[in-house]
């Protein structure tokens, strides 16, 4: 057995060193989690809105009533389309969530670096050992990862609740058997397809999110006008001066048409189903997941996003007007 003295000399460095480093060094992950929580405290709409919309969508499972409709000659056709309808209902449950999310996130991004300057709380945040890079990145993380994933999970749970209610209603006879067709494999494929779509969307729309973040960090007031007017003015000036529409096409491409091009092998039209409702599960089977990541515009957009975020960080770091 060692004496207390030797014990002390042997144990002290090992016992003290990790304690000191743990006390003085802060893990990046922990800081990020705290910063993300902070965003959800301040901007409660980020999580309240999806919950409200999800709840409302689940409630629509009750009033929909088919009564004693006779499908007659169409019954067979209807039955053929059960899978397509099932996946369409899942999609219909999710779509409103994402549309509202885009609006909520746009306002969040415009507000998040502006509000702290307006209420001067930036001086409090900057009195703590959190770098400007960590702060700005946490806000981007909220908009591009945390909230989209939260909305995805909310929509998934709400979709299951909706289907459960319909299953119960069918069992008690308030809905005709024909409209319900739970299919676990199809459900998983739809969830997979939507997660993939979400992932590509986060990357595709990163430059637009970063642009809003930059305006939020930069504008003295009227963030909304500074975010929305310059593109419109650029389009008008280009048309007046050169008679061309490159800016307009670029914006259209980035905001809508480009992402479909990145996601899908061929454009989906009603005809491609040959008179049938195309099942999203089929779409999953036909989607080449690597396609979007081979799209050069996706990576160019990310490079632009990185530059815009860097600019936003610099502005928050060196701005001096509080």
């Amino acid at each position: 057995m060692s004496t207390p003295d030797t014990n002390l000399s042997a144990d002290t460095p090992a016992a003290v060193a990790p304690h000191v480093s743990a006390a003085t060094r802060q893990s990046v992950l922990r800081t990020m989690i705290v910063l993300v929580r902070r965003e959800l405290w301040e901007h409660r709409a980020l999580w309240i809105t999806p919950l409200i919309i999800g709840g409302l969508l689940v409630l629509t499972a009750f009033p929909i009533h088919f009564g004693n409709v006779s499908f007659g000659a169409h019954a067979q056709e209807f039955a053929n389309n059960r899978l397509g309808l099932f996946t369409l209902i899942l999609w219909g449950q999710t779509l409103p969530q994402y549309l509202v999310m885009v609006i909520v996130l746009s306002f969040y991004l415009m507000d998040c670096l502006y509000q702290e300057r307006k209420d001067r709380s930036i001086l409090f945040w900057k009195s703590l050992p959190v770098s400007d890079a960590d702060t700005v990145i946490s806000k981007l993380l909220v908009a591009l990862v945390v909230v989209p994933l939260g909305v995805y999970l909310t929509a998934m749970v709400c979709g299951v609740l909706f289907q459960t209610i319909w299953a119960v209603r069918t069992a008690v006879g308030s809905l005709p058997n024909i409209v319900v067709a739970w299919d676990t494999v199809a459900w998983l494929k739809v969830q997979g397809l939507m997660l993939y779509g979400l992932l590509v969307s986060m990357l595709w729309y990163a430059p637009m999110a970063a642009f809003l973040l930059l305006v939020s960090a930069w504008a003295r007031r009227n963030v909304f006008l500074w975010a929305s007017l310059p593109p419109v003015i650029a389009i008008i000036i280009e048309r007046a001066a050169f008679g061309t529409r490159y800016v307009q096409h670029l914006l259209e491409y980035r905001s809508w048409s480009g992402i479909w091009n990145a996601l899908l092998t061929e454009p989906i039209t009603p005809e491609s189903g040959h008179g049938r409702v195309v099942s999203l599960a089929e779409l999953f089977d036909n989607t080449s997941m690597s396609r979007a990541f081979l799209n050069i515009d996706l990576w160019l957009g990310l490079a632009v996003a990185a530059a815009l975020v860097f600019a936003a960080i610099r502005i928050r770091r060196y701005r001096d007007d509080t």
Binding site: A23, Q26, I33, V34, R38, R120, L123, F124, K126, D320
Partner: protein, 288 residues
Amino acid sequence: MTAVIEARGLKKSYGSTTAVDGVSFAIQPGRIVGLIGPNGAGKTTLFKAILGLTQFDGDLRILGRDPRSERNELMQDVCFIADVAVLPRWLRVSQALDFVEGVHPRFDRSRATDFLRKTDIKLASRVRELSKGMVTQLHLALILAIDARLLVLDEPTLGLDLLFRRQFYDTLLNDYFDKQRTIVLTTHQVEEIENLLTDVIFIHRGHVVLDSAVDALPDRYVQLTVTAEHAAQARQLNPFYEREVFGRVVMFFEGRTAAQLSTVTNGLGEMRTPSIADLFVAKMQGVA
């Protein structure tokens, strides 16, 4: 001992106005320094430079680091209250504790809650529900629970009533200050912090006009109060500032002790060391 703050030729201009004009000074550890100056003297600019919130010319070292390029590292050891009104209104008291605990490795949550327990502040309250005095108490509870080496306070008691102000400084002195820590603060209520300070720095129009330990002031400044008929005689001794109070004239002398002055005044009037507030007025009027 290395200085906590060391400025050499620190200069900052906004357009054509020079806010701080080539200022040099050093602040040693374990001091409570009052940075005192009239509105627009450059105090806030100096603070912003110290806290890495603004760019400047010249050399400035805080705990041996450059606040322009090493701000992130510096904020581990430096704390500041810029203004009482900067806590965000949506923040809950419990959230404030969670946040600071989450990002600051030197934050001692139990210290902050002990302090809050002595107040009427409830953990579930939002900042917008608190009175101005309570917001300051909360801010103070957060900051004083951080084991920082340098605490910078810019008008921390602005807009508070006397009771809150007194309590604020008592807490600062009794619960926080020790020889390892340094506090730099500004306030317009100079009289209230006179007994608190170990050092004073007066700044006026971007220049340091006085930089001294409070203990050393009696060696440099004397205040002589004489009756009106002795005023002309006393004026021969070259005061740098004088003012009339109730028919008597108060004169301020620089560069001599009371003992030195008494050899030439021969009981002309009463002598004493001026208060910091009086000295401040004298210095500001004297250089104007």
